[in-house]
Every structure is written in structure tokens, then in C-alpha cells.
Subunit: 101 residues, 2 copies
């Protein structure tokens, strides 16, 4: 399993709308994708326009090939893209360590 | 509960040593701090010098005041600091949404 992390900056003052849009976008579009395993959305305290979207995928290619190459990618971007102030920084991660509980 | 995210860049070629050091630093120092609730360390696939350290704290001040103002902060930095290529970007986050399972 791999972790996608999208570091997102939205337009100022759109937080409440974006909170709803990103949740709707993940749950109605991304959650149906092959290899989707779960997600988390966090919003930043110090930089209110900053969000971190974490999505767990079965494999890297489930995101980079299957999802990005599917019509669902355009559906997702249609929901969240209008809020973006700049292109998100998206990279993928392996788990090194975590607390046991 | 709030989430601290540290975006870390280490010196090239030190990944294996840093994998062990960051786990040891969290488990022997930070895990004993007041308000510590759990952690996760991830390493980046596309940018091998990049790590994300996530720590959950009971309150923001448990990190920014209690931990950073304690001798434990210097102990922690003595373990991981020598690997850093630049000062980590550290911010704090609230949860917006997550998968139900």
C-alpha cells in the first residue's frame, strides 16, 4: 500500500466551500477508483489556505496510471480544481514507522 | 486533537540511517511528551530525501509550548538534526474528513 499526499493551496476565503467540495469529490469519485483504500483531509492552522489530502492506494499505478488515466480524474478536478490557487504538489510515500496503537 | 506535520529534507544517501534515527527519536523522546497521541513516518518515492513526520497531539500547545519549551526538544533535535539538509517546514492541522473504515 502506498500513500499519496497532495499539498493544496486554495483561494482565500473559500475554506467552508472547499471543505465540502473535497469531501464530496473524494467520496463520490475517488472512493470508487480501483485500488482506493482510504483517505484523510486536513486543513492547516497557520496557513488557512493550505490543505493536505492523503489517499491510500493498493499500488502506485492505481493512482498514477489507472485513476489519472480514467474519466474519473476529470470529474474529480471539476469538483476541486476551481478552488485551487496553484497546481497541488502531489507525491507518493511509503510507510517507515508508526505508533503501535 | 491536532496534527503536526513536519516536511523534512535530509542529506542524500542517509536514508537508511535516518529511517532508524527518526523512529528512535520519536519513540524514545517525543512519545514521552505531555499530550503525545501517536505518530507516523513516511518517506517519499519521487523525492528520496523527503520525509513526512506526522504527530498527533492532544492540543496545539502540547507541541508548541510544552514540548518545544522542554529539554526533550534538544534531545530530539540532537538525534535527527544532523541529517537535515534544511530546516523542516512544520505546521499544524485540523481534521476535515476521513474514510469511515
Amino acid at each position: 500500500m502506498i500513500l499519496e499526499v497532495a499539498d493544496i493551496r486554495i483561494q482565500p476565503g473559500k475554506q467552508a466551500e472547499f471543505d465540502a467540495a473535497i469531501q464530496r469529490g473524494v467520496e463520490t469519485v475517488i472512493a470508487k477508483a480501483v485500488g482506493f483504500k482510504g483517505y484523510k483531509v486536513n486543513k492547516c492552522i497557520e496557513t488557512p489556505e493550505r490543505y493536505l489530502l492523503q489517499i491510500w492506494w493498493a499500488t502506485l499505478e492505481n493512482h498514477t496510471v489507472d485513476f489519472r488515466g480514467s474519466p474519473a480524474f476529470a470529474e474529480w478536478r471539476a469538483i476541486v480544481g476551481p478552488f485551487f490557487a496553484q497546481p497541488p504538489l502531489v507525491e507518493h510515500f511509503n510507510l517507515v514507522a508508526q505508533s503501535s496503537d
